[in-house]
Symmetry: C2
Subunit: 288 residues, 2 copies
Amino acid sequence: MSAIIMSGKLLADEMTIEMQNNVNKLKEEGIIPGLVVLLVGEDPASQTYVRNKEKRAKSLGFHSLVKRYPADISEEKLLNEVIRYNEDPSFHGILVQLPLPKQIDSDKILNAIDSVKDVDGFHPVNMGKLLIGQPDKIPCTPYGIMKLLERYEIEIEGKTAVVIGRSNIVGKPMAQLLMMKNATVTVAHSRTKNLAELARTADILVVAIGRGNFVTKEFIKPGAAVIDVGMNRDQNGKLIGDVKSDEVAEVAGYLTPVPKGVGPMTITMLLYQTIESAKKIAASSKKR
Amino acid sequence: MSAIIMSGKLLADEMTIEMQNNVNKLKEEGIIPGLVVLLVGEDPASQTYVRNKEKRAKSLGFHSLVKRYPADISEEKLLNEVIRYNEDPSFHGILVQLPLPKQIDSDKILNAIDSVKDVDGFHPVNMGKLLIGQPDKIPCTPYGIMKLLERYEIEIEGKTAVVIGRSNIVGKPMAQLLMMKNATVTVAHSRTKNLAELARTADILVVAIGRGNFVTKEFIKPGAAVIDVGMNRDQNGKLIGDVKSDEVAEVAGYLTPVPKGVGPMTITMLLYQTIESAKKIAASSKKR
């Protein structure tokens, strides 16, 4: 048996058509979805991410702006920039590219973003709404994974899910989303004992630990859906996931590839949430 | 073997001495911790809870006020009352007794409480801070359970924990707190299959499902710490927990009783957080 490959690339393309229709409708009402990305310093990985986001946003016809700041910008100045874009009605989404330089408290900056424009879903209010089961903006990677599971008709209700990794941007929100769909969810992490044994109970296994080829076939229940969030480089500089895909594909029922699995979904959900935000802001200004 | 009984009553008494010392210190600085409880309508259970809270708050020397409103109060009026107490510097904690009558959107009211004064810990911002691992105000029942585990020196790090029940006020925040202490946590619920088998993997089992005597000895790993959050009445009107305590005590290593287990800790943590809130507000006003 060989696993069905869950293509994030294909689903992202599919969703892009739908989003394009939504953007066109908004434009007919005179609204152009606006996304501003605040980029501090010259980190090469950040530059690449931001370039991709900008390209995708522009191709959808967004009002897209990348604001660049020197690496030595003060916390206060950056905070004022966030506040400025909170108040600018031409932007419906604000994204602060992480990591930020050391002199800046990232939490302070992220918390200053108006939660309505927090298209990354990292603001405490949005995390809180997720925890109490009333999600609004959702962290993009786990949100994209839910869309993938749905598209490939993976049953979640009553199933056993194991999430390996407990980061704020993937593991913890992922667990909440799966729980909301009535899975029984365990969050495993570096202190978890008998990890392979635990993972083998999972009908749905999400791996987000940032260790290349860590998950081998011993971790996999036959037929399970395996989601690989990892983005690592091997010794030859090749992009690899957290899952040893060749052998896992022989046991799993479904598997996301790296690249073209979870990655394209993350940026898609960012744009999706910006459009949703534009719709919402437009609807609330009509009411006034 | 018979389980060690974890007395919430004893720990609550112990903590009350410590809290009394803290209140005395605050009074020397001219600060009296203030707690206002907003009580709508005539629900008898709510009346009892509120009376207990008031009694405990007064005995600690709090500035304690119970504001009663008729059952037909409008949402707008109640909202204005919340805002009024947000702005009243003599109160450091605001508690809206639930349930509220049907004409009122509880979420709207709870979200209006200043998160600094949200001593119940239910505000989305406080839930969000908990989810991202930077807790401030914490829902009182799971917070009290953490204090009990700590007091009885139950090891959490690296252990397997199962939480049965996924409510916003107990199950979900409980899972976050146990995860922060490096347990591997599974949240189980009504849709979970093979519940007894899953529960039997738990070194720490927290039961909060609201079904009397539901958890039998088949659910228990020998030596486990079992926390019973249930408060149910049997056919004779006797208060019973979710755990069938007589038989479970023969297998478990630790067990909380009902009553005098989790119950006294919940109200203790409410008062504890009000004192913490008073300290914090006092410290921040000094800085100005």
